[in-house]
């Protein structure tokens, strides 16, 4: 069975169908469709401004589409408020991180694990896991988020989303502005999350990282899906890559 078809168990985890979104008069999303299966890592590539972030925001309920549908495990979730979606299992790590600057690292994490069903044991387990992946956060746990470096904030943003125990994490350009050494760390985190069974929809401009981490790739241009294939079918030097991502 081709990698491209939906997984054999039926419904995909996230299905986006024919989204049309406008910012004022600008037709930002022009019929965008994609799907992510349970536990799958899917990459979304494209130049700046083609609508990748808007797609993620629409899935997360932060932007309302004029037309189209987003479903989570078969149930339609378009129009639901974001806080419900977070509780249903969608984690969101935005561009420029957006951690709570005046809350400590611990308080930032707390916004994720302070919910019904999280016992004290579960909480320590979650914290232990996150601190083992990001020891620097453990060190800085009582420091205000705003005092962390860019890379540390990125880690906090991901760790915070992990506190929700999400089924899928929407990662928007995690390596942007990071030092090369940190890029490797992001790559490892994605792998760890994948091994944990968390699906990831990865929006990136870093092509090698995306191709290596993802199972399937979508490429967007000007608000439309232009290409969809297995990551293994693509290579950094491919013409397709040059066409849609080259300068």
């Amino acid at each position: 069975m081709s990698v491209l078809s939906q997984n054999g168990n039926g419904r995909p985890l996230i299905a986006v169908e024919d989204l049309h979104t406008y910012y004022g008069k600008s037709h930002v999303l022009d019929g965008v469709s994609l799907h992510v299966a349970r536990g799958e890592v899917v990459g979304l590539l494209g130049r700046n401004g083609v609508g990748k972030s808007t797609t993620l925001k629409t899935i997360m309920g932060l932007v309302r589409p004029a037309q189209g549908r987003v479903s989570l495990e078969g149930s339609v979730i378009t129009g639901l408020p974001s806080h419900k979606l977070a509780r249903l299992g969608i984690g969101y790590v935005p561009e420029d991180r957006r951690i709570f600057r005046f809350l400590t690292v611990m308080e930032n994490l707390r916004t994720g694990f302070d919910r019904r069903g999280v016992t004290a044991d579960k909480r320590s387990a979650l914290l232990d896991k996150v601190f083992s992946y990001f020891p620097v956060l453990a060190e800085r746990r009582n420091q205000a988020g705003g005092t962390l470096s860019g890379g540390e904030q990125q880690m906090l943003a991901i760790a915070r989303a992990m506190m929700l125990e999400p089924k899928i994490i929407l990662l928007d350009e995690p390596t942007e502005g990071l030092m090369p050494r940190m890029v490797g760390q992001i790559s490892r985190i994605i792998e760890v999350l994948h091994n944990d069974g968390v699906a990831i929809l990865l929006v990136e401009q870093n092509v090698p990282l995306t191709l290596e981490a993802s199972r399937r790739i979508y490429i967007m241009e000007k608000g439309r899906m232009r290409h969809h294939c297995a990551a293994s079918d693509l290579d950094v030097n491919d013409a397709v890559i040059k066409q849609y991502l080259g300068v």
Binding site: G61, H83, P94, R98, F100, E107, D114
Partner: protein, 298 residues
């Protein structure tokens, strides 16, 4: 030298000390009122013109409950709970529909609510002042006065409520939700925080604080349908002088202004002493519009 000695002799030190105590007491109550107002202003971006009437409502609930049960504590508790619920309902019915609209609208709506509440109170309770009886009857000697203990108790309670709320804001779950929401509403939602309910909760808490102030002030002054305006006016002055949305600043400003008014009352009639707060406001606006006590953000 001689004139300084003369001047010092003319200051009635015992009166000054008494007024200091009085000033701090009303200052703490004012701080409680202003905290609720600042909270609502800072988190919901709403200028709550009805805040004084919520205080008044709380005072009247206190009057009714205390008359029925004889217990000051029950009155305080009942007042906070009833007005908190009322505040929550108010926010849901009148303020939620206005989210995203011009802030002009919330000013007008809260103003309308204040009118309705004032007239309702007048209609139900009449124009004559009511009294909340003193919770404790003991007095202690302060200079030439028998100073009542209940006033100290009221000051302590105000401080306790403010302090308790402060702690809750820092450590409690809802407190963290409030802080996260006020810093980044969108990401707070993305983290599963039900922001619309945070707004309702904050309004309820602010209302409860106003109600508690009303009951606490009850034994000090009377309870009437017009008491709201005096308090809200002073509270707004405190908010401006303390720095908008700045909780610590509001508390400092409240005590500062109340002390000045208390001292002024030594020499002028109390109804004119309020001019002192006006002067402080004018000076603040002239020289430090961001607030006399403006400091680092929460």
């Amino acid at each position: 030298m001689h004139t300084i000695a003369q001047f010092l002799q003319a200051i009635p030190f015992d009166v000054v000390i008494i007024q200091t105590v009085n000033g701090v007491i009303t200052g703490l109550i004012l701080a409680l009122v202003a905290s609720g107002l600042t909270l609502i202003l800072g988190i919901l971006d709403v200028v709550n013109f009805a805040h004084g009437e919520l205080l008044m409502l709380g005072a009247y609930v206190g009057v009714v409950v205390i008359a029925a049960t004889g217990s000051f504590w029950l009155g305080l508790l009942a007042s906070a709970i009833v007005v908190a619920i009322f505040g929550a309902v108010l926010q849901i019915v009148t303020l939620r529909p206005l989210i995203g609209r011009d802030p002009l609208n919330t000013i007008l709506v809260t103003f309308g609510v204040s009118l309705i509440l004032q007239n309702y109170a007048l209609w139900q309770f009449g124009p004559i002042e009511r009294k909340i009886p003193e919770p404790i009857n003991a007095h202690f000697e302060m200079f030439y006065l028998q100073y009542p203990w209940y006033r100290i108790m009221i000051a302590a309670l105000s401080a306790a409520i403010i302090g308790g709320f402060w702690l809750y804001l820092k450590h409690g779950k809802f407190g963290i939700w409030i802080r996260a929401t006020s810093q980044d509403r969108v990401m707070a939602q993305a983290m599963g925080i039900p922001v619309p309910w945070v707004y309702t909760g904050v309004f309820a808490i602010g209302s409860a604080m106003a109600a508690a102030s009303g009951v606490l002030f009850g034994p000090l002054g009377g309870v009437s349908h017009t008491m709201g305006l005096d308090w809200v006016l002073r509270a707004f002055i405190v908010v401006v002088v303390g720095g908008m949305g700045n909780l610590a600043g509001s508390i400092a400003a409240a005590i500062f202004i109340s002390l000045l008014e208390a001292y002024a009352s030594i020499w002028v009639d109390p109804s004119q002493a309020v001019i002192v707060s006006f002067v402080v406001l004018i000076l603040t606006l002239l020289f430090r519009p961001t607030g006399l006590f403006a400091s680092a953000p929460r």
